[in-house]
Amino acid sequence: MSELSVNHLLGIKYLKEQDIQLIFETADHFKEVINRPIKKVPSLRDITIANLFFENSTRTKLSFELAEKRLSADVINFSSGQSSVKKGETLIDTVNNILSMKVDMVVMRHPNPGAGVFLSKHIDASIVNAGDGAHEHPTQALLDSYSIREKLGDVSGKKVVIVGDILHSRVALSNIYALQLQGAQVMVCGPKTLLPKYINDLGVKVETNIRKALNWCDVANMLRVQNERMDISYFPSTREYTQQFGVNKELLDSLDRDITIMHPGPINRGVEITSDVADSKQSIILDQVQNGVAIRMAVIYLLASKIKQ
């Protein structure tokens, strides 16, 4: 197979296993490209991409922008903070205005779940979902799996625990879909209040004891506690969360096995993981960031090649 089965990347849910393998194989080549003295290829020189960020982002936005520029695409950026969205413009109007400037692809982050799917039904451009509310964040899940594949050789058969705020996390949902699609076993671990009620229906294991969870897994993906999305108190205090679910070096060293630590960023050092864990040899957090550019280049390249002239 040499082509994606989809025209947009709206979520992992819409992908097939072969799509993920194709993205990984393509990312392998781009990873080699971004380690060259000159890290740029001219493939997408006739493609214009709009990065529409209706929600704050630093790392994802930088990563997408870098990926687009390394492919030689023309890039325009938009952040809702300084835009007409504040003046009451609808999403479709905003995007159609931008598309009338001859844009071929839209990378969008939006606070509302399903914003990407909605948009894909109304406009004529390839859409990459860069996070829609607490729904999906497909490129993050892809780069997480890619980093596991790079570190452990394969994703299939591995045991991955996702720790923390599962309820508000788009990273968790996309990761569950992606890992299961590739034949990994997934467990979620966190305070009961931060686990969605019907999470069992996704076929994942549920654990509320961090030690048991870590002793079970090969990889622990530590999520950030998303205070900004919490309308009520889900746990008594940050300190108590850290005591119950935080990972420190002592805990890590006392485990029966050597596990790999991942974090999608931004890290709250001392809350979900301590500094010595984040900077330890078992952590692949910075590899994830580097792989993020290669994965996004692969996704954009494969989607752009489906745009007809």
């Binding site: 080549h29 490209v33 003295p37 000159i38 493939s43 997408l44 390249y301 752009a304």
Partner: protein
């Protein structure tokens, strides 16, 4: 064992080769439109000549690197390197593989997504003399892409081009080889296919009518 090849001549082959011949289309005239341009012996002679020409120009290869173009130029580059090392005792030849997929000028112009191959260049090309190696030179567009791609690895001193087959009168760009194995006149509807022992079971060059 006696079998008949595409020209209708019979030749002796070993049993293992015979099995391959059974699967090969030219045995029973399945593709009668296939014509042999070069056989294994001729390919071997040409490879040795090309190796000698490279030595004549680059002597001990102290500042010269061979770069095979993916996907099919790498077999020729491998073979030349082997001949230079084993038959002509040239030491320390650096060999790299270059994939040009992301530098091609036909992105989004065909039906299929362009699939990449591995690039494997573990040395700097800054100041080096490069010999690009490919099996067939046709329109010259691949070479144009390779010239751009190689710049990602530094500024070479000089770039030369070596091809086994040079299809005359078919260039879209002003590109000519410095070392050529055989020049052939082939019309656009025909295809030149270079086979290598390593993955096609025999060294040969065929002209195939589409």
């Amino acid at each position: 064992m006696v079998v008949y090849d595409a020209k209708g001549l019979y030749i002796y082959v070993s049993t293992s080769k015979f099995l391959h011949y059974l699967c090969s289309p030219n045995t029973f005239g399945y593709y009668m439109s296939q014509k042999v341009l070069l056989n294994a012996k001729e390919v071997n002679i040409i490879l040795h000549r090309l190796a000698c020409q490279l030595i004549e120009k680059h002597t001990n290869f102290s500042n010269t690197v061979l770069i095979g173009l993916q996907p099919r130029g790498i077999y020729l580059a491998d073979r030349l390197t082997k001949i230079l090392k084993e038959d002509y005792k040239v030491k320390n030849i650096e060999l790299g593989y270059l994939d040009i997929t992301f530098f091609r000028d036909d992105f989004r112009r065909g039906e299929k997504t362009l699939e990449a191959n591995t690039t494997d260049i573990d040395f700097l090309v800054e100041g080096k003399n490069i010999v690009l190696v490919d099996d067939v030179l046709y329109t010259g567009r691949s070479i144009r892409a390779a010239l751009t791609a190689i710049q990602s690895f530094g500024r070479p001193n000089e770039i030369e081009l070596l091809t086994l087959i040079d299809r005359r009168f078919s260039r879209h760009l002003p590109i000519q080889p410095d070392y050529r194995g055989r020049q052939v006149d082939v019309i656009n509807e025909e295809k030149v296919k270079v086979n290598w022992e390593e993955n096609d079971h025999e060294d040969s060059v065929y002209l195939i009518e589409k």
